[in-house]
């Protein structure tokens, strides 16, 4: 036998044994010949077209065996069921197809022949493989049952050959048919034959296939006598329109039709999961985390991708490859995909952001600007993209609540999140109703009794509150009351997280709601829970005129710049890109007097304020002081950001349009470069803890507040309460800032919220009648705990001052939380602080690093995070003249990330 044939045989043998592609090295080992020679033979065979080459490292080969290959099926795991569940969970649009697939496989006795329809690249082959695995899993076919794939387009110019492939040939059937040859149908006996591009099968071939489908038997070409009976489930696939006459015959003969959706018909959430899947696949290949900046992800989410999932996958692969090259060639610290790594047509996706901004924002809520993908990390549970539309909204809230609770978020935060949801849901709920629900339709769903009581309730509300409600409220209320009566009867709980807030904010409506509940209870003999009143109140607050069009109030954005058109052109760009006329500009020609400008600005601020404040973006000079002056004069909260760039304006405006709070928006910029300086400054200070009580109405109230707090809270030597009586807001803010220099201001208790960011505010009213004292107590308790710990550390640490280091570490951790966009669980914090303080003490005393097991693997996964943490520790390293090594950083990083609330 020639060498080259030996190589071919060896390849066949190894392939059968391992059921995968084989490398030249493996063959050389088996045959004991030089690897280079084997390579040469293999390449020769490849050129001859006898074998396939699989690019990669190492290059692998497999035998072609006349184009048909028994496909490499990924080894079966017992988690197929769970992975199918995961697929359906992530790919809502596949729910029906997967149900159909299950039915097709399980239908007795041996499943239904199936036709899969769908555009190029939607994953028809993959789906067929999935069905095969499902069949094995459900023991419909043997574990070793064959799955054979054949593409009918492969020999499209020779229909005879196609048929020969599928049905086999008897010796002498045609010239060149010199021996009997089995067809794929025979070889697939007991298993599944997947025929791709079935529309390319000739009419004659189709007839033969139908004969098999009808009778379970077929005749090879040239065979006239005995028909062969086999048990094969046919799965066919095509990209053709099922309405075409060609497919008509198929759809009549093949009982199960499964249509796979095109990528553009999938929701963004589904597409996000696909992207995640593909990036993680690359991450696995590279063995490192892949970081992706948010804009690139948005482009991937939105670009036009006509060849569907297949194309999405290869575009992502290309981007990953580019990023990888950059990482290698430019010696970057980690692999980061940014816009420039994307193919041109993908970049264009970003242009569609305006159409889909809301959905996209929803998807990226709570995610940072750079996202990490690692094959070892599982997808987070999807709590963001949830759709409330078709659900009973109590259930939706409860479900959300549970998810949030499970992920360890504390009650306070849950309430905030849920509250936002309720509001937006409520708007949608009423907004969607519109006029298309007519009274007859309502009465089909809702009992007449309920309708009657709704009329009575609305009458009462109109009389009491002196306002008119339109029909929409009537319908909405009817549906709502119907819903909650059902719910109460079933004994399901009703929960409103912000009951108290609603009571305070809408006292009149709340009273009406209480009356309404009385009426309902009497009529239906139920006991409506208190929380329900909160929901009802919202109905009465709804101003019918506001429902349509009018949005929730937003923070105003005003841009003032020197120059004739600087501000206006910046604002134009911003508003165009945001897709909302939100930002407003004032140009300040150099000839203009600041005072005149001030008056204009003030007027504009008054006009823009919707009760949530106005963000003032300016370039320089006197403009930077306008904000405080206007605040003082008008009482409108104005926050000023200077040295504004277009990018910054767009970001601020986007946040405002999203309805973010002014403090939040302002805070996100204030920290842009001053934070580290801030830490350095704060590291040098020695703090005393204080609580400030304040009033603006005159002498005395702040003293009284101080008295109340001292009287009712346990005494503490560590915390001082300082009353401030200041009539002027600006002065107050500046004196707070003075206090901040040498003190740690734990809280401000006041009759009015003065909006000092990063100091908790507790209203005087809450102190007297509400939960305020409890809140204050919590704040103090936490602080006292830290003081106690500091004292204990002082005894136990040898090299550093425990009381000081604890504050420094706390500040550092806060910084890290910001940089990594994480939120460390309160309960874990003390442990982490302690770990770090002992670490600093050890290093300072000349101790050695503790080794971190598998440091390299950990770095592959979290290198970016480690670098950021390292940066945050710089002030501490400098102060104590220590260096925190990679092993120790890895420990710290792990603690932080594992204790993240979202993890």
């Amino acid at each position: 036998m020639k060498k080259i044939d030996q190589v071919y045989e060896a390849l066949e043998k190894l392939e059968k044994k391992f059921n995968r592609g084989i490398s030249a090295y493996e063959i050389s080992q088996l045959l004991n010949i030089n690897r280079a020679n084997v390579s040469r033979y293999l390449n020769h065979l490849y050129v001859e077209g006898r074998i396939n080459k699989i690019e990669g490292r190492p290059v692998l080969f497999n035998t072609k065996d006349d184009q048909q290959k028994i496909e490499n099926i990924t080894p079966l795991t017992q988690t197929l069921e769970s992975s199918i569940n995961k697929i359906t969970l992530q790919q809502q649009s596949l729910q029906v197809p997967i149900q159909q697939a299950k039915a097709a496989i399980l239908y007795p006795p041996r499943g239904l022949h199936t036709l899969i329809l769908g555009e190029t690249g939607v994953g028809k082959s993959l789906f067929a493989e999935l069905m095969y695995q499902l069949a094995i899993e459900s023991k419909v076919i043997e574990i070793e049952a064959p799955f054979i794939r054949f593409n009918c387009a492969d020999y499209a110019d020779n229909p005879q050959l196609v048929m020969a492939q599928i049905f086999g040939v008897k010796k002498g059937a045609y010239t060149g048919a010199d021996k009997d040859k089995d067809g794929l149908l025979k070889r697939a006996d007991g298993g599944i034959l997947f025929l791709d591009e079935i529309h390319r099968l000739s009419p004659q071939g189709q007839e033969m296939l139908f004969t098999y489908i009808d009778t379970g038997a077929f005749r090879p070409l040239g065979e006239t006598e005995k028909a062969i009976s086999v048990k094969v489930q046919i799965i066919a696939a095509t990209t053709e329109d099922p309405q075409s006459c060609l497919l008509n015959t198929f759809t009549r003969r093949i009982p199960m039709l499964i249509t796979l959706p095109a990528l553009r018909d999938k929701s963004l959430t589904e597409r996000y999961y696909l992207i995640e899947y593909f990036i993680k696949k690359e991450s696995k290949r590279i063995g490192k985390s892949i970081y992706v900046n948010k804009n690139s992800l948005i482009s991937l989410l939105l670009y036009d991708c006509p060849s569907n999932i297949g194309q999405l996958g290869s575009d992502i692969q290309l981007a990953c490859a580019k990023a990888f090259v950059n990482y290698k060639s430019k010696r970057e610290d980690y692999i980061l995909i940014s816009q420039s790594d994307l193919p041109q047509h993908v970049k264009k996706g970003m242009m569609r952001i305006n159409e889909l901004r809301e959905e996209v924002d929803q998807l990226f809520k709570q995610k940072g600007d750079i996202l990490r993908f690692n094959h070892k990390e599982d997808a987070l549970p999807n709590i963001k993209g949830e759709n409330f539309d078709n659900e009973d909204f109590y259930d939706a809230i409860e479900k959300k609540l549970q998810t949030l609770k499970d992920s360890g978020i504390d009650a306070e935060e849950i309430n905030q999140i849920i509250n936002i949801d309720i509001e937006s849901h409520f708007q949608k709920y009423l907004g969607n109703l519109h006029e298309d629900i007519r009274i007859q339709e309502i009465s089909k769903i809702v009992d007449v009794e309920v309708l009657e009581i709704v009329e009575n309730i609305l009458q009462l509300a109109e009389d009491t509150l002196k306002r008119k409600y339109d029909k929409k409220i009537y319908y909405g209320l009817a549906l709502h009351i119907h819903g909650f009566i059902e719910r109460i009867k079933k004994g399901v709980k009703i929960y409103h997280p912000k009951l108290n807030l609603i009571r305070v904010e809408y006292p009149d409506e709340f009273l009406v709601a209480m009356e309404a509940v009385k009426m309902i209870d009497k009529r239906f003999h139920i006991q409506t829970p208190l929380d329900e009143i909160g929901y009802l109140t919202l109905f009465f607050t709804a101003n019918p005129l506001d429902l349509e069009g009018e949005e929730k109030s937003k923070v105003g954005v005003l841009v003032i710049m020197h120059g004739n058109t600087t501000a206006s052109s910046m604002v134009e760009v911003c508003n165009t890109l945001i897709g909302a006329q939100h930002a407003v500009s004032l140009d300040m020609p150099l000839s203009m007097k600041p005072l005149d400008m001030y008056e204009l600005a003030k007027k504009q601020v008054i006009q823009l304020d919707r009760g949530r404040g106005v963000l003032l973006l300016v370039d320089m000079g006197s403009l930077t002081n306008f904000g405080d002056l206007i605040y003082e004069e008008t009482g409108i909260i104005v926050k000023t950001i200077d040295m504004v760039s277009t990018a910054l304006l767009i970001d601020a405006c986007r946040k405002a349009v999203l309805g973010r709070d002014i403090d939040e928006i302002y805070g996100s910029f204030r920290n842009r470069n001053s934070f580290t300086n801030d830490i350095n400054k704060r590291l040098k200070k020695n703090f005393r803890n204080i609580i400030i009580t304040a009033c603006f109405t005159g002498e005395g109230a702040s003293e009284r507040l101080k008295g109340i707090i001292e009287e009712r809270l346990p005494k503490s030597d560590e915390i001082e309460i300082i009353p401030l009586n200041i009539l002027n807001r600006k002065e107050f803010v500046s004196s707070i800032n003075e206090f901040k220099e040498n003190h740690k201001v734990l809280a401000i208790v006041s009759t009015v919220d003065i909006h000092v960011s990063d100091i908790p505010f507790i209203s005087a009213e809450d102190i007297i009648v509400g939960e305020g004292l409890k809140d204050l107590e919590d704040i103090i308790k936490k602080e006292e705990d830290f003081i106690k710990i500091g004292k204990s550390l002082k005894i136990h640490l040898n090299e550093v001052n425990g009381e000081k280091i604890i504050d420094e570490i706390r500040i550092t951790i806060m910084d890290i939380e910001k940089k990594l966009n994480i939120n460390i669980k309160e309960e874990a914090l003390i442990g982490i602080i302690l770990h770090i303080s002992f670490l600093v003490d050890k290093l300072k005393g000349g101790g050695k690093e503790t080794l971190f097991i598998d440091l390299d693997a950990y770095k592959d996964q979290f290198y970016r995070e480690m670098i950021l943490i390292k940066g945050a520790f710089k002030p501490i390293e400098d102060k104590y003249h220590i260096t925190i090594g990679e092993n120790e950083l890895a420990y710290i990083c792990k603690m932080m990330i594992s204790n993240n609330i979202e993890a």
């Binding site: 710990i789 874990a828 003390i830 982490i832 602080i833 503790t850």
Partner: protein, 101 residues
């Protein structure tokens, strides 16, 4: 003789706590073997302990270790933050003993 295992991430702060717990045990006249291990070494000792306490910074291990030890009925808990923070050996020892009751 009660065997108490403390787990923390790198075994840095816990060793001091162990000393303090031992002192507390001597004072109380309780015979106990108390030792600290790092996260990675914890598993090696599963066959030879009565109770496991986790440092607050590795509280994320709680579920995992609970599951692993459920069959052996060995109790697992996270050390109270404040007791950990103040290195209060006595209180932590009490917590361990309560778990063993």
């Amino acid at each position: 003789m009660k065997k108490i295992m403390l787990v923390c991430s790198a075994g840095m702060s816990t060793s001091l706590l162990v000393t303090k717990m031992n002192n507390a045990a001597v004072k109380k006249g309780i015979s106990a073997e108390i030792f600290a291990v790092s996260e990675t070494d914890a598993k090696k000792h599963f066959d030879n302990i009565d109770v496991v306490l986790l440092g607050p910074q590795v509280r994320y291990l709680l579920n995992k270790i609970e599951k692993l030890l459920a069959e052996k009925k060995i109790p697992v808990a996270v050390i109270e933050s404040i007791n950990y923070g103040t290195m209060n050996g006595e209180a932590v020892l009490d917590q361990a003993l309560r778990l063993l009751e």
